[in-house]
Symmetry: C2
Subunit: 455 residues, 2 copies
């Protein structure tokens, strides 16, 4: 054990370095294997080394001079290793789940709800594409065909934007991250809804900013509270979903939209409107980006919920000079825009004509699923906060002061991943809530497990 | 004109907002169109509005309270709009070039050097893949098949890493950016080679850090200078290519590698070794990541130069606790790792067996091209700094004190994009150099244009 300590302090064994196997070390030291096992156990108890199943023991950072990362760093990663419920909890549990795990808390549709046949056709078409498309980086704003399709959709909504106002990105999240990197300065405040999509919080942790929040109503953020927080905190950015807000499914009212824009104007606030659920709406609802004409509102979107999450592609629409600066930033930080192959695949499917019919079917199926699941949850005393006009989420209150984090931990132990309310809440005001994905609730084991966990 | 100014200061016309057309505004004001044209011209001269061809006039930021971005911002974007030669120059000129433009300065192979047939086969195979693979986000570290292939290659090189030490990313650049976001704090110094890949500089501008540099020799960075800069600046990170360094083609010697690692250990330096040109080497040369065993060296790689730049996929190999923190950061900032579709495509091609033969052919072809192009350049008095062991770059000195930036500007006006030396140089010490991509010099117009620009 002294030998190990000496090697570490001499820098021969550095953090992350693997220790010799018990057998080898025992042989080298002329000690018995059980002595070595005991020594390793004690070093592990002290935190100097750590065992990993099937892979031996490794030196930790414990012997190093402390270095506290101000952004996301080792300390937080260590915290996340114990499955504590934080804004990363749902994503990590869902993304890395084994196929047998049920995921009513996740944020995507099962593959049999997705346009898999269109994706297969699109890949076969790509296989015959020009060699340059298949091998070269492509332009700094992404494939022209997809940018043109987006502009045509914007024009239908009444936004007259030009090609230099649209840039494709690796994902909707990456688009928001680029905007944050462009406009935020250390110490700036950023405003989000309470509750809001948990990854907005995770994302903002990677920036040196303060996060403030405003309570949601079924018609958008509460306008009086919105004004108060603008006066008190002068946030630089407001990040929101206007249509089918995640997690509540709330829809911005025309009056609230108009009022928010006037307040934004008065207080010099820039708005990031993440429009990822647009195509799940039965009919268009108010959008800040449309009323404002992409002046102080930046529109973000992605095809992850409607076409494929495996083909990474998002976009930003904004003022041309912002797009120019964002394109530079995207070159610097990921050497270019979206994968041209991904962009062409998405453009091909959106342009082929079957997409609207596919989304009609998905909306129809989801409308039934929302009603069915609300009924099933109701029998457990779990009640939706509102019945959304579309989408796959139901934001629901648990009965009798039950704590959703405890329920989620119990379900997780049985292989069911839920989305507990406080991962969505900056103010930690949503401990009684769970977000359900109605498309992921077909398996009766979900409700059975939930009933047990509540019992 | 007063009316326009009033509208801007009242906030009715906000930055980015489009002005009424000349005809509409004239009609509304009861003025003649020529009066409005004159007013718009004067406002444009003052910088209050800006015209865009075919799209009218827009309000600029000029009337706003000044907001100086500390990171990359509007100010820099404006500077970049005039094609000033900076670290973005080569990438923007090359990425957004029309097909007719010749690109001897760009950083990729022409598509007829790339494994297009294998990509087509890979896409057809993907078209038959499991629906979940084609539609779901995938795990936080990226597809297992590709991570296993990488580990098998590492094992051949003598690195015994485990699966929790490898994470896939959207690109090699994105991998480096994630590392920078994880470990760098405001004011940290970061060390690069002089010259180095221009996008390292562009990337570091997006971080609140100081960039310092060390002169390159044909065997790696100059060790005495390396030690001096470590003592004087205590950089937190050193970012480098060990094999076939970009732009020089230099190869790290075993002695320099060993010495750098000892210095890094003494001074608490973490090293990012970008190994993107590994497969272009005729035989393996020393690697910091191998000597060090992924303890304080982070290995970065990508498939953009060898398989496809259009299928975005890079990787990071590092200590498991760093990978864990980087995976969190990748969820936060782009919601997940590489596109699973991209990752599977790459794994399929690397695993299929034809890849090694393809790279044998590319290396053979490049060896001839290097000699041919060096001969052609020699006849213009342009001499390689060294003859690289592999790869597609020649780093060359111009004769007679010619300035490479001027030569590059003149060639650009004729539709030939060069890579002038100082875009690679933090110390701006490479004004007499150009980097040539020998695979992009097949068209005789390149040398003809170069000769004219030098004459």
């Amino acid at each position: 054990m002294l030998e190990i300590r000496a090697r570490i302090s001499a820098g021969i064994l550095t953090p992350g370095g693997r220790l010799p196997s018990v057998r080898r070390f025992a042989a080298a030291m002329g000690a018995s294997p059980s002595t070595v096992v005991e020594a390793y156990d004690r070093l592990e108890a002290e935190g100097i080394i750590r065992g990993r199943r099937g892979s031996g023991f490794y030196v930790t950072d414990a012997g190093l001079p402390p270095r506290t990362p101000t952004r996301m760093g080792i300390a937080e990663a260590d915290a996340a290793r114990t499955p504590e419920i934080d804004p990363f909890w749902v994503s990590k549990q869902s993304l890395d789940a084994e196929p047998s795990v049920l995921k009513p808390g996740c944020g995507w549709l099962p593959d049999d709800w997705m346009p898999v046949a269109a994706l297969r056709r699109g890949l076969r078409t790509l296989a015959r594409a020009d060699g340059a498309l298949l091998t070269e980086y492509g332009g700094t704003r992404g494939p022209l065909a997809l940018r043109r399709l987006l502009l045509a959709r914007f024009a239908e909504e009444g936004i007259g934007a030009s090609l230099d106002q649209v840039m494709l990105t690796g994902s909707g999240t990456q688009a928001i991250d680029l905007v944050c990197r462009l406009v935020l300065q250390p110490g700036d405040a950023v405003l989000v809804d309470d509750p809001c999509y948990f990854n907005f919080q995770a994302l903002l942790r990677a920036h040196p900013v303060r996060v403030v929040s405003v309570p949601m109503t079924p018609w958008g953020p509460e306008p009086e509270a919105f004004e108060r927080v603008l006066e008190a905190e002068t946030p630089r950015l407001y990040i929101t979903n206007s249509a089918l807000q995640n997690p509540t499914g709330a829809t911005l009212s025309p009056q609230t939209a108009h009022r928010l824009l006037i307040l934004a104007q008065t207080h010099g606030l820039t708005i990031v409107e993440d429009d990822i659920f647009a195509d799940f709406e039965p009919a268009p609802s108010p959008r800040l980006a449309i009323l404002d004409g992409l002046s102080r509102v930046i529109r973000i979107g992605s095809f992850s919920k409607t076409l494929s999450s495996a083909v990474r592609c998002g976009y930003i629409a904004a003022r041309p000079e912002w797009i120019e600066a964002l394109a530079d930033l995207q070159i610097a930080t990921s050497f270019g825009a979206v994968s041209p192959v991904a962009g062409e695949l998405v453009a091909g499917i959106l342009g082929a004509g079957g997409y609207r019919k596919h989304m009609d079917e998905v909306r129809h199926r989801l409308a039934h699923a929302r009603i069915d699941v609300a009924g099933q949850l109701g029998r457990l005393g779990i009640v939706p906060w509102l019945m959304p006009r579309g989408g796959f989420y139901l934001w629901c209150r648990l009965p009798d002061g039950l704590d959703s984090a405890s329920v989620a931990q119990r379900c997780r132990d049985e292989g069911v991943i839920l989305a507990p309310g406080n991962v969505f809440s900056v103010a930690q005001s949503a401990g009684a809530f769970l977000r359900f994905n109605v498309a992921q609730m077909g398996d009766p084991r979900v409700l059975a497990c939930l009933a047990r966990a509540m019992g």
